[in-house]
């Protein structure tokens, strides 16, 4: 086994009649590809926290006037910031792909009287909406439209 699980994991409500050995986590835990992918998925939470706070600081600078905004945009040119945002982009794509795969089956069988569309349709719709929103936002922010 890999290591101890929580000492009271799956503990009986009243102690058993003989001494039990404590629960263990699976021995393949830390090497398993699926588990590492899942832990990475959870770890993207850190990235989301950071990118949100960076964005909040940027918007505050936007509210503080042209000088503050220019300084903020210039600071984003630092290689560390660019590398950070590349990491963010990878994280966001990773989250989207995994989440879109898991989202359809989490829909309830009926929503009131209506049935949700088939899982494959929901899956495809999510990608269409995501790519659509990204394209529109990119076009707007990059000055192509509006």
């Amino acid at each position: 086994m890999a290591g101890p699980a929580h000492p009271h994991a799956m503990a009986p409500p009243t102690p058993g009649r003989t001494r039990a050995a404590p629960p263990q986590t699976p021995s393949t835990w830390w090497g398993s590809k699926r588990i590492m992918t899942y832990l990475l998925f959870d770890a993207t939470g850190i990235v989301y926290f950071l990118v949100a706070f960076v964005a909040i600081r940027l918007i505050r600078d936007l509210g503080d006037g042209p000088l503050a905004w220019a300084r903020a945009m210039e600071s984003l040119q630092h290689p560390i910031y660019i590398a950070f945002h590349v990491l963010c982009l990878i994280a966001v794509i990773f989250v989207a792909v995994r989440f879109f795969r898991l989202f359809p089956k989490a829909q309830p069988p009926t929503i009131g009287p209506a049935k949700p569309p088939p899982a494959a349709v929901i899956h495809a719709m999510l990608y269409v909406i995501w790519i659509g929103i990204t394209a529109v936002m990119t076009a707007i922010l990059a000055g192509v439209i509006f």
Binding site: D42, T44, Y48, I56, L62, V136
Partner: protein, 125 residues
């Protein structure tokens, strides 16, 4: 603290769910242009000059719906809740079940503080 968290789980989960769904969808374009393409010079920096950035952020629909601010608010607030929930989950995965009451509360407090900062920044535009 765990009991307070338990009672608030539904709303936390809703915010987290939207953080993943809407947050991810909005963040992709933002990160691409603001974080990568403009800083690397692949897109003209004038696209987000102060004047244009400010007018986009304060753009309104039909003259009274503050569309720019609403989208910005979603983009700033929702990822915080995805972040808080997943970091809490990550710490539990690493054996933090016992401390979850305090750690979870702390993480959601950070998300609340961040949300307030975000709303204030957006309102102050």
């Amino acid at each position: 603290m765990k009991t307070i968290l338990l009672r608030l789980e539904p709303i936390i989960w809703l915010l987290f769910g939207q953080g993943i769904l809407i947050g991810t969808m909005l963040l992709t374009g933002w990160i691409l242009v603001v974080g990568i393409l403009i800083p690397m010079g692949m897109v003209d920096a004038e696209a987000l000059s102060y004047a244009r950035a400010h007018s986009l952020a304060t753009a309104s629909l039909f003259g009274f719906v503050p569309l720019g601010k609403l989208i910005l608010a979603a983009l700033l607030v929702l990822p915080l809740w995805k972040g808080a929930h997943h970091v809490r989950s990550l710490l539990i995965d690493f054996g933090g079940g016992e401390r979850d009451g305090i750690v979870g509360t702390l993480l959601y407090l950070i998300a609340i503080v961040g949300s307030v900062m975000a709303i204030m920044a957006v309102v102050g535009l």
